[in-house]
Amino acid sequence: MHWKETDSILSPGTYYFSGNEAVAEGAIAAGCRYYGGYPITPSSEIMERISVRFGEVNGVFMQMEDEIGSICSMIGAVWAGAKAMTATSGPGFSLMQEAIGYAAITETPLVIIDIQRAGPGTGQSTKVASGDLMQAKWGSHGDYQIIALSPWSVQEMYDLTIEAFNLAEHYRVPVFLMGEEAVGHLRERIDVSATVRICDRRKEPGAPPFGTEADDGVPPMPAFGEGERLLVTGSTHNEFGIRKTDDPVTHSKLVTRINNKILKNREEIIQADAYYLDDAKVVILAYGFTARSALFAVDRLRRDGKEVGLLRLKTMWPFPDHIIREIGGSVKKVFVPEMNRGQIIGEVMKYAGSEVIAYNQTDGEIIHPHRIMEEVRKLV
C-alpha cells in the first residue's frame, strides 16, 4: 500500500503559528522536499519558513526568477522523485496557469498554496479576498480537473496542506490550497499529533505511466533515474508517453480519463461540514474565512430561535453538487456570502433548486459576523 503512518517531524504538542507558518510545517510533515518559489504578498512567509526549515530536513529550496520558473522547476523536481510545493497569490497564480495545465495532462502531483488577496491586477496586495476560486477551476486552457481545498483556521492550514499532498499523490493531480490573506496571517494555537498519515507515490516498474485500462484510473508514477527511460510530454500522448498529436482516439481517451479520475471519485474526495442543518429553513453556504463569520452568526441566530444552518465547504473543486442538491431539496433559501462578486454562488444556483441569495463584499475586509446576521435575519 502506498499509505503509511510516519512520525511527525515537529514534536507532538501545541504550537502558536500563523497560517502561513502552519502551511510550511504541514508540507514538511507530508514529505515535501522541493520548493520552488517567488516572493509575493501575502504568501511570502511560507517561502521564508521553508527556506530555513528545509536546511534541517534536507529539502531543496529554490527561489526562482519568477512564478513561471517556480512551478516549472517543481514539475521537474517531481519527475525527479520529489514531493513539491509552491506558494503564491493572485498575480503569481495567474502566471502559473499554463504550467498547471501541463501538470494536469502529464498527471504531475503538485501542491500550490494560493493565499488570496484583493484583485484584479495588483489590487490590494495586503488585503483579503476569495477572488481566485473560479480561476483555480478554469485558469488554464482545455479540459482538465484539479482539486481545491478551502481552509478556515491555522489548524486547517496545517492539516489540509498534508491532505493536499495526499490527494495530489493519490490522484496524480495538481491540488490547490485556497487560503485567504486573513487565515495566512492569523495566529492561533494548533495541535500537532505524533504521527502523520501520508500517501506515497505508487511505483510499478515497467507499467505504462500514462494510462490505465479503466477510464477513471490513476497510473503508477516512476521517476527519472530509475531506468524507465521515461517520455514525459505536455502534448497528447499514449499510455507510454509517446506523442500522438493527430490521433483523435488517444486525445479523447486521455482527456476523458484525467477528468474522470477526479469527477468519478468526487464523493471520496469531497469534504464539507454541516451545522444545524436538520431543521434549517435557511442555510448559509460558506467557505474559507467567511465560514468562521458564518458559524458565529448561525450560533447567535440559533440562540434567538431562528431555524438557520450552515454548510461549510472544505473542498471547493471538484464541486460538491450532490450535497447542494440534497440541501436545496429540503430548505427554502440558501444564502451565499462571498469575498468576491459572486463566484461559487453560480455553482450553487446550478444545483440547489431553491432560492439562492448572494452577499458579496469586495472591500478588502473580511465579512463581519454581524453583517451575516443582519442579512440572514431578513430571510427568516
Partner: protein
C-alpha cells in the same frame, strides 16, 4: 546517422521528423557521439526540451529519460530535476526562440546561478515550426513571414549574453563544424556548472527559401563560409567582421 549510435535511440524510432536539409539531424548525431565518446550511461541522463523543432531532437528519439516541456521553460524544469537529483546528468536541447526569447529569463538566471546543466541551443535564426516568423536571433535584413520587408532589429549575441550572465562554459559552433562541436559538447558535459553551446543549424524550409538560398547544400556552404574562428576574428577589422559568425570557446572557467 552512423549505425553505431543507433543504440542511443529508442528502439521504435525509425526516422526523424526534420525537413530535408535541416541541420538538427547533424546536431543530434554530434550530441550522441559526444555521449558515446564519454561512455556515459543513458540511464543516468535526463534530456529536457521546450517547444519547437529542436525540442524534438531528444524527445522521443533519445533512449533515456526525456522531459518535453512548455514553450520557453525547459531550463526551469531542468533546474528542478537537477537540483532535486544531482546524479542526473541533465542536458537541455532546444531552439533559439524557445531558450532565448520566451525563455530568456530562465536562461540568464540559470547561468547566473551556474546550475550544473548543459544547454544546447540550436539556432536556426527563425521560428521554424510555426511558419518562419522573425526571431530574436534573426540577422538584420532577414526576410521572414512577419518581416517581409526585412528585419530591422539587431539579433542577440547569445554567447556574450550567457557569458555576461555568469556561465562556466560558453561556445559557438555551426553544424558545418561537427568535430569541434563533438569536442565542445564533451567539454560542456564535463563542466561542473552552467555550460552553453550555441549551435548554428540551417533551416532551409523557413529561412533559406525566403532569403535567396537556392538549396540546402548552398545554405550549408554559405554557413560554412560565414563561420570564422575566434583567433581569425581577432585579426579582422569591425568592417571585415560584418556578416561573419565567430565560432569557438568563449569561456571555460569550469574546466
Amino acid at each position: 546517422m552512423a549505425r553505431d549510435l543507433e543504440n542511443y535511440m529508442r528502439p521504435d524510432v525509425k526516422s526523424t521528423p526534420f525537413c530535408p536539409g535541416c541541420g538538427h539531424g547533424i546536431l543530434m548525431n554530434t550530441i550522441l557521439r559526444a555521449i558515446d565518446e564519454l561512455h556515459l550511461n543513458m540511464n543516468d541522463m535526463l534530456f529536457v526540451s521546450g517547444i519547437g523543432c529542436a525540442a524534438w531532437i531528444p524527445s522521443p528519439h533519445f533512449n533515456a529519460d526525456t522531459l518535453h516541456t512548455l514553450h520557453g521553460r525547459a531550463i526551469a524544469f531542468a533546474t528542478g530535476a537537477k537540483m532535486f537529483n544531482p546524479k542526473l546528468t541533465t542536458m537541455v536541447i532546444s531552439g533559439d526562440g524557445d531558450l532565448t526569447s520566451i525563455g530568456g529569463n530562465h536562461l540568464i538566471h540559470a547561468a547566473r546561478r551556474n546550475t550544473d546543466l548543459t544547454v544546447i541551443c540550436a539556432n536556426n535564426m527563425i521560428y521554424g515550426m510555426t511558419g518562419g516568423q522573425v526571431a530574436s536571433t534573426s540577422p538584420v535584413g532577414s526576410i521572414t513571414s512577419t518581416t517581409t520587408e526585412g528585419n530591422i532589429y539587431r539579433p542577440f549575441d547569445l554567447c556574450k549574453l550567457v557569458l555576461a550572465a555568469g556561465a562556466s562554459y560558453v561556445a559557438r559552433y555551426s553544424v558545418t563544424q561537427p568535430l569541434s562541436l563533438v569536442n565542445a559538447i564533451k567539454k560542456a558535459l564535463n563542466v561542473h556548472g552552467f555550460a552553453f553551446i550555441e549551435v548554428l543549424s540551417p533551416c532551409p524550409t523557413q529561412f533559406g527559401r525566403r532569403n535567396q538560398y537556392d538549396s540546402p547544400a548552398e545554405m550549408l556552404k554559405m554557413l560554412s563560409e560565414m563561420c570564422i574562428s575566434k583567433e581569425e576574428a581577432e585579426q579582422l577589422s569591425r568592417e571585415e567582421l560584418r556578416g561573419r559568425i565567430i565560432t569557438g570557446e568563449f569561456s571555460d572557467d569550469g574546466i
